[in-house]
Structures are given as C-alpha cells and as structure tokens.
Symmetry: D2
C-alpha cells in the first residue's frame, strides 16, 4: 500500500542473537525474527556459527518468505544472529540487508544492527582514507569494518574501542565464530534485552516479546553501554563504557514502535499505553458517547481513555488484515477513498454518536482527515480526536524515519490549523508532562521529535547533509 | 502456520461481480477481492468481459500476490467477476482456482462460486454420462457445465433451469460477454449483497464491507432464490425460484466468518457479536477481574460481555500480525509452545487476576488449552472460558470445512470433559436460544453444526461418501 | 530472440507415450521429452496413470525448467504420456499447454497431440451445440471432448469413431487409467514411431531419436490410420481406418523439423539431407572454393553438396549456442546487425573465397540477406546460395506455422527478385523432382507448401477463416 | 546435467568493458556478455558509470535470465563492465558473482576478472592483517580491495602498483566513475582484446567474437602487461609492466575454450583447430571410412583431419541442443546410458564403417568409453580415437578447473591403459610438438597441464593448499 494509507514513523530494524548449546539455533532465530517482524518488513537474514566457520542467508521479503526449510538446514551451529529490516528504497534493499558478514584477521565476523550512527559519514571517510573499500551506504557496514580494523586482544576490547568512536543509537548483535555479543549504546536509545533459554543457553533481542516467544526466563535489559557475551552456560556482562547522563531512551518505542507485549525500562508497553489514554482523558476530556481506537496501535490507549472517562469503548474501524504490499494503483474514484481500502467503519457503532477517536500520533497528517470523514459519512455526530503524544515537529536522526522536517504537519501548522485541516470537532495532543507521567519517568528519554532538543552534542547540519546524501 | 495454531472452521470463498460502464472494472474487482481476502487466502482470480470477448487471470496466492499492474492491464472491459478461494490441498489449488471460464454455444461464460452443492456427485455423473469431460473435482465446474448445456432463450432462463437442479449453498457470480448475474440459492445459506456504484453501474459481493470499500450505496441483499442482473443503468431482479421455508442462513457467518463490518439479514455483524457476548454474560456470568478476547474474532463479543457484566475489558493476548504461511517447522522445544508463536500474553494485564477468556468457537479443541496455559503461566489466578455458540457436534456440507465429525471435540467429549482437557476453571457455551436471541431471529438459520438437523432433505450418506472421494 | 533472427517455419509439438511395468515412468517421459525439445520450447507436460487414477503436471517453459524432482515424484504409475509445445502467443500458452486431462464417463482421459485438424472449427461448433463447454481454442481440446462424448464399448472403438470425423494431421498419444494408445492420422502427416523398452514395456514418440534415447529396440512406425495399444507385455496394433491413397507425409520433416538422427519412412533423415545436398550440387553446381552450411540444420546438406561437388566443406558461421529467449531489445546500432547477434563469421574461412552457402529453406526471407552481408563483410568474393527445397509459396494448415501467405517471400517475388533482394551472386532452389529423388519416394508426401495442392479435399476458405480467428 | 555427460575442463569467466559516448552502454554490455556466455553460465553482472555515480546488477543464471529490460533501464551511463562466471558451487554463486563494486577513497570502483592469482592467499592475509574485512573467498575481491588501498595519484598508477604484486592470470576490466581500464597480466595467460565501436568509443572483451558482435573494428590484443584506458575518443595504452619472457598464453584457449570465431595471438582459432586435425592426421593416420567429430568443439579438427587424410567427413553424433541444467536424475536403466541423453548416433553414417572419432581432449575419461560404445552399438566396425592435444597430467592453477591431479585419467594410466579402458581400436594423442606446430608458435604458451612445468616460479604446495581451502 502506498504511504498515504499509513501515517506512522518507520522503525528500521529488529535484531536477535542466540547461543543454544543443544538446539537448532537457526530455527530458533527464525521464530525469534518472526516475533520481530513488525520492526521491519523489507528484508531478513540469519548468520550462524559453529565454533569454526560461519554461514549466512539473507534476502528481501518477510521472514516467512525469505526462509525455506532447506535454507535453514544449511545454517548449522550453536551461535546465531538475525535481523529484520525496514528500508526506504527497493533498489538498495538487497545490498543493505543484514547481517553483514566478513572475514577478518580475527576470523569471521557478522553484525546485525538496530539504530543509527550520527557520525557515520565521518567514520566512513576515515575508513575509505585508510584504503578500505565499502560495498554499501549503510552505517552497519561502517561498524563492521571498524571492528575488523581494530586491534586489541579480545573481541570485547575491540568492540569497546569502537563504541568509543560511535555516536548515536545502536542495539547491536555481533557474531564471531564462537560467541554472540549483545551491545547497546550508552544512551540506551533502542531497546535490547537478554534472557535465559529453557533448554540451555541464552538469547538477546530487540523486544522481550521475541524472547518470551522462545520461552526465555530471567529476562533483563542489556543496559546502556553494556556488552553482554552469550556463550558457555552463563552470560557475561561487561560495562564497556559508562551510561550517558541522562539516558536518551526513544519514547516513541513506548508510544508506537514496540509491540504492546514488550517490557522496557521495567514497564509494560501495553500498560504505558493505557496510561497514555488515561492521562489524555484527564487532560482532555470529551463529551462523547463512545471511545474508538485507530487500530491496532491505539487500542490500549483507547481502553485507558474509556476506563478513565467512563465512556464506553467500542470498535469503530475494521482494518483489512491482509493489506500488504501491492503494486496496484486504485482507480481515480477509489483513490479518493484511499483510507477506505484499509479501514471500514462499523456504522452501527458510530451512527448518531459523539465519537472520541484515539490515535497514537500524527506525522504527515494525511490519514486523520480521511478517517474522520469515514466516521462522519457513517453518521457520527461529532468526532473528537485525541493523540497520545505531543505534536511532532522535528525529525529523528537515531533510527526512525519520520521524513524531513517540512513533511511534519505540526512543524507547518498550529494545532487549531490541523484541526480545521482534518475537520475534527476537537483535536488535542497529550502534553509532554502528561506523556512522561504515563511513561512513569521524569527524564532519561529522548523527546527530540517533540522538542527539537537532540540528546547528542553533534553538528546537526552535518548529520542532515549526510542524510540527504543517503549516508546513514 | 500449521493448523495447530488455529482452531477455526474454514470458509471456502468470497465472490464479487461488477458492472461499471465508465470505469476500469478489473482494478475495481481487485480492490473488492482485497476486502474479501479473509474469506479465502489460497487463490484468487478475475474474469472480465467487454461486450464481445472475455479474458481471465487467476493463480495461487493472496490477491495482492496474484495480480500485478500488467496483469490487470490485460483485463479490459466493463463487466467483471472475481473470486478468492480457501483450499485444503496444495496440489489441486491451481486447477481448482476460480473463476471457471469456458466457451459455450451461447458465447463465453465464467463463474465464481461460494458455497457447496450437496448433490454435486449426482449432477457430475449425469454430465459425464452425457459425454461431457470434466477437468476438476469442483462443484463449480459442474455448475458451469450445466449452464453450458442448458437450452432456453436467455441466460436468466438457463440459470433458472439449473437452479431447479442445484441442492445446497451457492452465492454465485455469472459473467457472460455483456452481463453479470448475481445468483443466490433459495435457502440463503451464504451471504450475497448488491449495491449501486457512485460512478454508475452496480456491484455484488459476498459481504457488504467489500461493497462499501468500493463506495457502494443503496446496498441490499440478493434475496434467496433471486437472480440479480447487473447491466445497463439499473439492476434487474428476477425471483427465479421461491425462497425455502424456512430459510437456512449460515449462523456461523454471524459468529465467525463475516468481517465484523458486514451487514447481513439487516443486522450488523459487529453488533450481533456484541449481543452474543451480552447473552453469554447473562447466561454464564463469572466472578472475575478482567474480560479478554482471543483476538481478533472474539473482540466484539468480549466488548459485549464486559459491558453487560461491568467487568473491565482489556487485551490479554497480542497476536503476531505477520504470522503467514511458513514451511519452517519449530524445534521440539518450540513445538511445545506452538500457540506462543502466534500469541503472546501481556502479563501485567492478567497477573493475579481472575480472567474471563472469550472465544467464538471450539472446533478440534487444540488451541484452547495452550491459550489457558499461557494465561496461567503469566500469573492469571483463574481462567473462565466463555464460548459465543453452542458445542459444535456435526460437520457442515454447505461450504464450511470443519473436518470430519470425529475431529470435533464436542462430538467426542462432554463440556465438563472438555473443561478438564483444556484445564479451565470454568467453561460455558452459549445456548442455542441465547445465540438466536443475539442474532435476533427465532428461525431462518441453519444450525446443523450444533444440532445435526440439516436443512436439506438429502441422503446424508451419499454426501459423506462423495466428500471422502473429494467430490464437492 | 525476435523472429528476425530465425527464418524457419515452426513445428508445433513433440509427443511421447510410455508403458513401463517396472519403471518410474514419469522420469522416463521426462528424458523422452528432453529429446523432443527441438519440436517445441514453449510448454511441456506429463500425465501419468497407475491403473486407477491419473495425475498430471504441465507448465510454460523448457522441459528442464518445467519439471523438478518433486514434481516427478508426484507422478506415479506405469503409464505416461508427455508433450512439448510450440506456441505463438504468450498469453495463451499456459491454458493451451498439454496434455489435456479430463474425467469422462469412461474414467480419466489425457491426450497429447502433434498436428492440426483442418475441420476443428466445425467439430468445435458441434460440441458447443451439444452443450459442451470448451476451455481453450485448441483442436486438441476438441479431440479430447469428442473422445469423452463417444459411446462404444472400448477406447479403441471410441478412438476409431473419432478418427472417422477428424480431418487433418494428428500424431496422438491417448492415456487412460490403464493404457496408452498411439494414434496416427490416415494421411501419415506427422511422424510417430513405437519401440520396445529394454526393461520391459514399450514406448511411442514423435521421433525415433527419443525412443533410442530411452534405449528402445525393434522400432517401427505407427502406420497411417493405426492405433497402437501399449499395455501388458506386447503392443497391439489396430488398423482403425484405412491409410489414405496416396499418403501425405510432411516433406518438411525431412528437410528441417526432425532431428537428423530420426529415421522416418524407413529413411535416415541425416542421409536424406545429405542426398538433398548432393541433388542440389547436381542440379545447381557452382564455381566455388568452399561449401558452408547455415548451422545447424543445413550441415548434412552442405556435407552432401561438398562430397558431390568435390569442393571443400568448412564452417563459415559460428552460432551462439546460448541464444535463448531474451526480452532485451538491441540498441539501434545493434539492431542493424541483428543476425550478428546469433551468428559470427569465421573470417579466415571465407576471406577471398567464392562461397556456396547452403540453407534448408527461405520462408520470410529476412535472414538470408543479412547472412550474405556478414560473409561479404568478412571478405568473401562471391556468395552463391543453394536451398535444399523449392520456393515456399503456400501456407500449411496441418501443424506448421509458416505465417500467412503474404508473409512468404516466394509468394511475393520471383527467384531472381529474391536473389537481388538478398544480394546473392546466385540463388538456386532444389527442384521438386530433385527433392523427392533425395527423399527417395515419388509420392506419398505432402508438398502443398511448394505447390499449393493440399492433400485434403476441404474448403480452404473455411480453414483460413478459422485460422484468422485463432481456432485451430 | 551431471558432470558425467561432459568431460571438458571449465573456464571461469568472460569479461567485457565498454566506453560508448553516445549509446545505451548497458544494453551493449548485455549483448557482449551474450556472446561470451560459453565462458561461464553460472552468473552474470554488469556495472555502469555515468561520470559521477555507479550502479550494478548481477545475479545467478544465464545472461538472458539475469537481465530484464527494467534491470538494464536502471543502469545508465557511458561506461560499463560486465562478467559471466563459471562457478563450482551453488551456495556461493550469488556472493561470488561479479563485478565486485565498492566505494573507495578515490570514488566508486568495480572490477570484473577472468583468471586466477596464485598468490591470492598471501595477499588476502596481508589485507586482513591491515584490518580490511573481506566478504568473499574470491581472488577478485582481493584485487578490488588492493586497488582501494593503493595510494598514487591516478588509477593507472594504482593499478600498476597492484600488478607488481599480482602473480598469475588476470584479464581484468576496471570501472571507475569516468573510465574503463582493460588490464592483462604480463604472462598473457587469458585472452583480452580491444576494438573501436562504429558509433564512437571502444570496447574490450575476452574474445574477439564479442567485439565483432558489437560491430567493433580495428581489433587488437591488449598485450601482456598493458593497461588500456577506454575514455574520450581514443584509447590510451600504458605498458604498465614488462611482458614476461617467455609469455605463458593458455594453449587450451586454442584447443577448447575460445569460441572458434575468436582470433588470438594473430591466429584464427578455427584455423588452428583445423591445423590440429591436420597434424593429427599426419602424426596418427588411420585406415578408416569416415571422420566424425565429437560435437561441437571438435568439428574444426575433424574437418582438418578429413581434409588432410582424404577420408570423408560426416556427422556421427547428434547433440541435444537443449541439454541444460536439470535436477532430474535418470532412472537406473537410463543412468547406464548417460551419454545417450546428450548424444545420439546417426546409425546410417557409421554402420559397417571404420570410424575415426576426433575429440579435443580427455580429462577424467568418463565420456570417451560411452561414446565409443554408442558408435559400436550402432554398427561401427572399428573406432579409432584421435585427440587434438597431448595427455593431460597436471592440474591448472591459472583459472581453469580440471579437478585435482588424481582425477586426471592420464595421470593415472598410460595411453594403452586408457585405450583398453575406453575400448577403442586405437587411441592417439597429438604430440606436444605437433600441437605447437598447429598453433604456429614454438613457445610463448603455457603447457603446464601436459608437462607439469608451471610458468610461474611459485611454491606449488602453497597454491595447492590454498585451493583445498577454497581460497582462489
């Protein structure tokens, strides 16, 4: 479906790493990636090591499309890392698929990365100047080649040296011939957790849901600045560099990216989203007859808003579960009804009612209006829109694709202008304070997309220029 | 995913038919099928006529996989029919994909069928005895060849003659070189509706949601026994044979098959499902702290149960939205956790709580137990299961694949035995009367899967034997 | 490659049939089709019966592309027929692929056909009028449906009844649940032979080369009008209808279609082609330094011409062995050199020489000129063209695609005009008498493409009209 | 087809490079690769530069399978290089496909390589030790990364520096953002030629036939040790390092690899092969009735042998032109006739005759015997085998895959033992002197596969060990 039907930012990856002394580790990695599919639908890959050699398979497509039984059968070993990728451009998808795997003086090395280095362009120039040839425009290859270049006696030391140079977000899985390393940047931007496998060994993944799918217990976060070594019977934790003060966890993981069964920073994402709805009900109550979510991401918040307000919760939209990638363009008359191809209204649930429509965010602002129109066409008397975060006014440079600043509707218009533009009876965004109250932390979170205050002291112009060149 | 992760009956098709004098009818049919994808994910096809000739494309796969822009560009005309198919066996999928298209003495003819003839084996033998060669085992080919054989001056007459011989369920789209006919059996087993297109012309489809996706207005059912002719500016209705007394609408369309935005028999499916939940709360209340649905089909009923009982509604399970067809078998240790690959629990929402789990039906009974275990492992104190229909004890011969009678857990065990088997604290099925009260009709619905009383006076043994031979 | 690079008529099929009581008959059919690949590269299929049921697989592509080990593993039995197909249009290829398989009142039936019925349109109308629906425009489906309709106690009788109605060319393999029938039209237009398999059973095929590839011994022709039954230990021959007087064997099989290792009418095709060259040398000698063939089909004739004339034989052209189907159009500058993409000259072998270029036929006349230019550009002093058959002036209606009459250069121009058009120093066609002398028969061969005298007493206009409608 | 049906060594690549200021260079590269398809059928790729940026497409498959019109449309520019690859293992084919393309400090760089470095393992270790990560086991990536590392002001200088380190065979195309460089090793092992394009610009290719397909004139060899720069209107020749004394041209290019229309070292390959046949007739005459080649490679030599001996030339075998890659294994009874699946005999041409069978080489010796058996089964009285080169006793380390030494039948057996093994009436190999006389040079050719005397002064054990590890 063309982007017009979806107005969410895009996260760029899910990663997984597994050490399983007694199991078919490729198959476990497959099911782990399966549970991380929502973090990237463009490409998937798994690299496996058996103590001596390393093998890999990656391709464009959904996890279930990329892997066949025969593909997995060729990936033998007890150590694995995997990656699912979101990508903006079709042509480069194959080349930028991960893991990246190379041979180094220290043996084979593979890497799967979620995040974004903001000094990637600088580091890349350094590598090129040292005579290294680069085969992609990805910051992940920069990271891989830096690890290959680094001296030092152990992989942990080499990774630590690289971490000292890396600025930005990285939740990283590193595979060597006999070890998996789970590495997280000192700002803690992207989530990463580790758990114990019931059959022995351990696993790390972007979200706890993937670990629980594998049956993991004793799940904990990989803390900012840590390298967690998965091998032997127990994992080993190294505080490679000190955590940033304050941390800069991505608050959008709470609002939208993570699957609601994730637990992050000790908090249930589903419960945080319920809280967001409750705070919203508190800050911006509405005289209404029914609370409806924009499915699926806003369901928990709508449940929370309904519980707090005492107004009944109900389904208002039905989402076509099978809307996938299609290259078929609608006819002109259908184009006008673009959103209807993805959502239908349940007329009886909104007819002659005052509706509160809960949505998690507005980025470009091109779906809110059509959704409201669908509701009004179905007979809703009033539509009050409530958004579970503040207006998004600044782009992200740490792994989230929100487009350029000029694409952001809240950068271009006031809330009242947006309300008119989408033809809502009322429109309210949760306040920054309300959002953080719902999250349960006063600080430690990056709020740059709402405030423009970036947590890393870098030259923003350089980063922007690099972005425009496609270097990230 | 292997069937172990899903315990629903399977419906066998969605159909659509369009006459659009000014539009690209193939593209409209594509988006109509898109909205009927939930009725069949194995194969899809579209046939188009331009007043003179007819062209068709069909293949195995999801609608969005089967059709490319170039494919649709080859399908020119103002008349179209389309089909999405559920199929049990991979090998025959390509050959049994629909529409069926043939050349007849009366010109080209194509047919798309949802339902099942119970006298298909007999009709097939008659055709063979008349020297007709048959290329598939499908009752839809039987119907096509009967239409080709029939004399009579008009297609409406030929269709009527055939209807007199057809016993069973058929919601049928017939395409000729300059007309689309929407045909429904006199029992009204499967749904079929027709509406006016905003840009001129009209459309018919299995569900009203597909018609509304296309922007249709003035939507009405194709009534049992009717032939609705789509051509020229208005549609023409012919009551080809008298409706059965009583009708035998499939009540399972209300309970599970139809998308909740469908309106059928004048009733909103979403509201019927809410009513089912309310009736269930009335018949089988529970002392509990939270009401959770098994997503997605049970969500409306859970909302209804919560509203009626006053117990809060919340999400308990997160469903992996990307669970698609995979040929990867889980490892042994993952196999034990099969359901977890599809569902994860939101621990915090059930921890230390008494949970009411709402599900629409239990067929084989192999997912209820694992779901309860997931909840209890997550800390639920009690799990009370409430099912929105009576126990299913008899198979369907009118287009729904529930397996054989011995596969049905409620045929083999009492409710108490099932409760023990799935390890629920309590288990209750909605009564037949309660179900019909929720539906809002005392009769006119087929309830054979609950009662074993089939609405058609046929020799059941013959039908069963034919089924075993794969003739349907 | 676009047709401009090849100026040969196209044959439309190869067929094979096998009964092998102790062998994997699908795999044998595969290798048999492999040896018949030159008779059709568009689609391939195999149907297999095991005494009870029948299974089939067919698809677009070369034999080696269509079949995978798993595909063959699904085709179990001791009886098989197979087909390779040449097709003019991409869109219909999948639907017209053979075998055709249907269920009839007499059990399952499959058919693989090489040839063309000239009364196909009439027979098709009869079937339609009897209420049979037809799913393709192929005469092979007409034949299949006629067999399904026919009464009579045995398949041999039913086939005989049909043969009485069929006018035209058919070398036919018929598969029932426990028998293979090899059937040949009474005119003997297309070749068909049968042989004994070394491991028991027997096989029939379009060409003897395929039978020898399978190791067959005791190879004989299926004679015109015969039905040969392959089952049990020996084959059974039925003279179903009397052979035509005279026969009308396609002389072009000798000149071009058949692979040179074929033996037909008791004659080695390679030796006949050598004879054609010898006759040509006798009728049209040339003062020259070297004899070169247009590879591959003209090699035997060039060997014969060289032997008869005493002028040395040598290679003049190298053919790109890997020229396959490509959708890439050449650039403008390459387009002018179209033939060079398929053929390169060996300069040293023609430089400063008087060259005799032997070719088997000229159809449209669009490659001869470019080939001569290649030779002259390479330094040939003179190019004398010798063609191993008379000028082609009339199209074929019995299974060979030569295009329409207006496409035939010899219909439009005299030999001298053609010579000037292609810029040859001399151009000579073998005489009809010389050709038949080389073949070794005074009559019994269809020469209609050279003479316009068709061997069948039919209304030519009807046939032509049917052809234009695509009914064949 | 499994290797048993072919007993030739395998060459590993064809390369092409084009500068065309006014043309669609990707399309020209496509047709150039098309003409080099015989040098490698496993993978193909094209990289294009437009003065600024570079794009590339490569994949597993034949040239015509790899490229679609849309693929070529994405490759815009005036500079191109291309590659066709032969590869031993399926799993690594995708990763080892060429060109290799990287970004360097000097801008984008792509490389297409035919040949083999014998010191690849050493150079690779050096790169790894410098901290470069390597993503394949190919010597071509080693060459690419060395070019990326090299300092020096110009690409010609950087290439020259690398050439000083490279030991072995390389006919290399280097693409930068605004130039193509054709580079050849100082031993001249693999062929490489350059020519002027009729529409402006110039092209280089492994064989002259590809250049002539593109219409090139003024074709000359890229001489050993030269770098030829293709850009602007004229090419620029740099003698980067001095040619070796003596040269080590691969004589097997003359005997088998090159297409017969190639001209190399000023000699027509077709004429050299005729000479080989003539020398063979002189050294080893035979009392015989017919001379037949093993098609296709031995045809010119058989023509020469026939001309010299006065014994008639004729076809004896017909080769299945469509034998391509199939995964279908023959049945047991067919397996015994393996060769017959590829070759059929024309019985009439050998029946009751004394046959001389000309073949270019015997490597493993597993097809000669079956071919002789086919001839004798067809009635040949005697079969005298004549081979156009001496016995092959040593493997090649410079780009030809002949297997290991123990695989070579002439390393294991005497000529008489081989004759008995293949059941020939006589068997003779052309002498080394006779071969060189036919080639027309006393020295300047590598004959190591016949003599074991390798032209490069390297530690053979190191090379062998590297080969066993797959480093090449």
């Amino acid at each position: 479906m063309s982007p017009v039907y979806d107005d969410h930012p895009h996260d760029e990856c899910g990663v997984i790493g597994i050490f399983a002394p007694k199991e078919d580790v490729a198959r476990m990695a497959f099911f782990g990636l399966y549970a991380l599919q929502h973090r990237g639908q463009e490409a998937a890959g798994i690299a496996v090591a058996d103590g001596q050699s390393m093998s890999m398979y990656k391709n464009v497509g959904l996890v279930a499309q990329v892997f066949r039984p025969s593909t997995l059968d060729d990936l033998n070993g007890n150590f694995a890392i995997g990656h699912t990728r979101y990508s903006t451009t079709g042509s480069s998808s194959a080349r930028n698929a991960q893991p990246f795997m190379i041979e180094t003086i220290h043996g084979p090395l593979a890497l799967a990365h979620n995040g974004n280095l903001i000094n990637s362009a600088v580091l890349r120039e350094e590598l090129l100047a040292h005579g290294v040839g680069m085969s992609s425009s990805s910051d992940s290859e920069v990271m891989t080649m830096m690890l290959a270049r680094n001296g030092g006696g152990t992989w942990v030391e080499r990774i630590r040296h690289a971490m000292e140079r890396w600025l930005g977000a990285y939740s990283l899985m590193v595979l060597t011939r006999d070890c998996v390393y789970a590495v997280r940047d000192p700002w803690g931007v992207r989530p990463l957790s580790v758990g114990v496998l019931p059959s022995g060994g351990s696993a790390a993944a972007s979200e706890t849901g993937a670990l629980r799918t594998l049956g993991c217990v004793a799940i904990r976060e990989v803390k900012p600045g840590e390298i967690v070594t998965l091998s032997d019977n127990a994992w080993v934790v190294t505080q490679a560099i000190q955590p940033a003060q304050p941390l800069a966890r991505c608050v959008f993981e709470m609002i939208y990216f993570s699957r609601p069964d994730a637990v992050w920073d000790g908090k249930s994402v589903h419960q945080v989203r319920q809280n967001l709805g409750r705070e919203l009900a508190h800050e911006y109550p509405a005289e209404a007859d029914v609370i409806i979510p924009v499915p699926d991401s806003s369901i928990p918040a709508a449940i929370g808003y309904a519980a707090e307000s005492g107004i009944p919760y109900n389904d208002g939209f039905i989402k076509n579960r099978y809307v996938g990638r299609t290259f078929i363009e609608p006819t002109d008359s259908l184009r006008k009804r673009g959103v209807a191809l993805k959502f239908n209204v349940i007329n009886e649930n909104v007819l002659n009612k005052r509706v509160v429509m809960i949505d998690d965010s507005i980025v470009r602002g091109n779906t809110t209006g059509p959704l409201i129109k669908l509701l009004k066409d179905a007979g809703a008397d009033e539509v009050h829109v409530r958004i579970t975060c503040p207006p998004i006014t600044s782009p992200c440079f740490m792994g989230v694709d929100m487009g350029k600043q000029d694409d952001l509707i809240a950068h271009q218009r006031t809330v009242e202008e947006i309300r008119k533009y989408v033809n809502a009876n009322s429109l309210s965004y949760l306040s920054l304070g309300g959002m953080m109250k719902a999250v349960g932390s006063a600080d430690g979170y990056c709020q740059a997309c709402f405030t423009g205050k970036y947590p890393l002291p870098v030259d923003l112009e350089t980063v922007k220029t690099g972005f425009e060149k496609g270097i990230r």
